[in-house]
């Protein structure tokens, strides 16, 4: 296999890793205000992802950096084309990223509510817009003979891109709900299970629509591809397993559904990496966008050594905090159960 193709696969693995891991963070972020009825419950919801969200987000950074290293042209064209969309992604990631650490560090309903909304909106915007972006890669954007984007912000909002974004948001919501059901106890778990059933239905419908639309975009006839079939089965299983309260299996199924969706986009794309809607001769491909051979060899060695190590210690981190998070007894709504939340001594 050519190194170009290997690096394409590695980058797909990073994107899948990002969405499968950060996907439940996004879901929890979007849902925490609704699933937690009072302040303590909201904090419990946030703390279910507490030890991991940051490590999960690194998958996005690595996906971006690997793109830069292995396919500089792809990185340059994609990031400059998606300019304002990525600006919104950054703002979303700001709000999310700091809210974890800062939200609980001060009393006051407005402070807490403000960062809560920053977390929720950031968790919605990021998968939505990255979904739009990935959909656009496949749908095609106006790209000229210099491999530069020649459209404007409106051109980014393709119907298929939006559909991909919305479908990914629904899958992240489902993934977050199944994750919360798996990680919590008592009332929060009950609510998370109930939510999984509702969201599961929405996700099944959206996924079906997305699969059909993808077939139209790639001109692949009416028979779904194997990954698509796998994805559809996974969503249905996630919903069915959530309905029968098998928390662990439902969570695994929603993860597979996300992996299949992201995987399908890139499978349909290969060997192109960005489609030009102007002229297919201007498409970016794994061949014309790749770095030199030596750089790819070096990067392959680095990835082969480091990626298993990363998986080991991230896996260990998941193992260490594998137990459910119970809601503390004194659920008084002001976070009184947490010494870290008591007012400053000033």
């Amino acid at each position: 296999m050519q190194l170009h193709t290997i690096w394409f696969i590695i980058i797909v693995v990073f994107w899948i890793g990002f969405f499968v891991l950060e996907g439940f963070d996004f879901g929890v972020g979007m849902l925490h205000r609704f699933i937690g009825r009072d302040e303590t419950e909201r904090r419990v919801a946030i703390n279910t992802i507490g030890p991991w969200w940051d490590g999960n987000e690194v998958w996005l950074i690595v996906a971006g950096a690997a793109l830069f290293a292995a396919f500089p042209l792809w990185y340059a064209t994609m990031f400059s084309a998606l300019y304002l969309a990525l600006l919104l992604v950054l703002l979303g990631l700001f709000g999310r990223g700091v809210s974890f650490e800062w939200r609980g560090k001060r009393e006051g309903a407005r402070w807490r509510a403000g960062w809560s909304w920053a977390l929720a909106i950031g968790s919605l915007l990021t998968p939505l817009l990255i979904g739009v972006a990935l959909g656009d890669l496949l749908h095609g954007l106006p790209i000229n003979q210099n491999h530069d984007f020649s459209g404007n912000f409106g051109d980014l909002l393709t119907g298929y891109g939006l559909m991909t974004g919305v479908t990914l948001v629904a899958l992240c919501l489902l993934h977050g709900a199944t994750f919360l059901a798996l990680r919590t106890t008592s009332e929060i778990r009950d609510r998370a299970r109930a939510l999984s059933r509702v969201i599961g239905l929405v996700a099944i419908v959206l996924n079906l629509g997305w699969v059909a639309w993808t077939l139209v975009v790639i001109g692949g006839g009416t028979v779904p591809q194997p990954t698509q079939i796998f994805g559809m089965i996974a969503v249905i299983f996630a919903w069915a397993l959530a309905s029968t309260d098998r928390d662990g299996w439902a969570f695994a199924a929603s993860g597979f559904a996300i992996a299949a969706t992201i995987g399908q986009i890139f499978i349909s794309l290969y060997p192109n990496v960005m489609i030009s809607s102007t002229n297919h001769a201007y498409n970016l491909t794994v061949n014309n966008a790749a770095s030199g051979h030596y750089a790819l060899v070096v990067m392959t060695v680095v990835a082969v050594i480091l990626l298993p190590v990363v998986l080991l210690y991230q896996g260990w981190s998941f193992h260490v905090f594998r137990r459910r998070v119970a809601t503390p007894e004194a659920s008084s709504g002001d976070g009184a159960g947490a010494p870290s939340a008591t007012p400053s001594s000033q």
Binding site: T40, F68, G337
Partner: protein, 466 residues
Amino acid sequence: MVNDLARWQFATTSVYHFLFVPVTIGLAFLVAILETAWYRTDNPDYKRMTRFFGTLLLINVAIGVVTGLVQEFEFGMNWSTYSKFVGGVFGAPLAMEGLAAFFLESTFLGLWLFGWDRLPKRVHLATIWAVSLGTVLSAMFILMANSWMQHPVGYKLNHAGQPVLTNVWALFVNPTFVWGYAHVILASLITGALVMLAVSAWYLRKRQHVESFHRTAKVALIVLIPTIVIQLSVGNQLGEVENHYQPAKIAAAEAQWTSCKPCSFSAFQIGGGANDKTPTQIIAIPHLLSILATGTWGGGVTGLNQLQKQYQAKYGPGNYIPDVFIQYWSMRVMAYLATLILLLAVWGGWLLNRGKLDRSKWFLRLSIWAVLTPFLMNTAGWLLTESGRQPWIVQGLQKTAGANSPSVSATDIWISLIALILAYIVLGAADLMLMLRYSRRGLDHADAEAAEPSDAPGTVAPALTY
């Protein structure tokens, strides 16, 4: 216009990002030292100091991480021509940074924060050292990438005239990288030590928790004294290396328009910019510039006028002289403030030795205000490095003009520049508020947190850490 806006955006966002980075690198190391002290002595006081400064570290990491995202996106968003051109070399260290450093830092920070009552003491100690290692590795790879822009190595040009990586090891031994990296790590340790010293001094001034903060003041000084001494010499070495590979950068930093041999050092002057090439030197120290730039008593420094002629002969018409004002004053801000910090550190060491540290009103007062200096020095250092590289984006290979994204309009950049600045103001205000609040709230909270797990009895996963 578009190019200038893109430059303003990069300058703003990277200077802002680098306010937080050295605090993270420095404090992660110091917190690891404190926890090691707790591990070895079993003195609970070290544990609460670990938690106290650990909280400051965490508040700071949050903003450092999100502002770092902007940097990675910005190459592609604003500088696509540059990214296409150099990605085959420049991208590799960035990808290594993600794989080797960011995963390590983020995963182990989560383990450290949530693992207080879940991990064995020894393992918990290892997690904070892993975090510290992650921060240091991250700086290594990004400096490697940056140094390649200052002095490109390990590449050849392909048929399209683009640099292609041919020797990755050359990036690791690039002299600009070796000295630049040492300079940044030392600067980070100095920053962290000055933050710890300032907070400790504040409590000692107020006579609160005297014993505990005397300990941390001591740790801070023990780190600060050798690092500032070594830093002055490393900074000097880096100047020599840069003078060799980027002579215009150093000549501009000395406002040296005409060649000199031997060269005196201008300690303070008026004028000397592009429109006034004969500055009024108020204080000039004979031979000092020769020593600083070449390491010899009578060494010569090529003036900007000669360099301009050489570059025009080599690269064609154009202006090859960096902004002299920025170069001259950023060099002096660094050097003068570092000298003051050296004096402060020596004074602190003397007081420590005499057992008078917690009672010296003036030392404590000055130590609190000294916390501002590392941020000024760090910013000045990057201005000197990056502005001094101009007009090149990659020295000798690609000019900054024309390296921006052709598909991005001035309106796009205005929108993003304003949005980012507004977001940074909000984030910066919240960060500063939290840092001051948590610096001043005393140790009783840390005691409470350390004494009882912050969760309901019977639970095994942390429920209210965030």
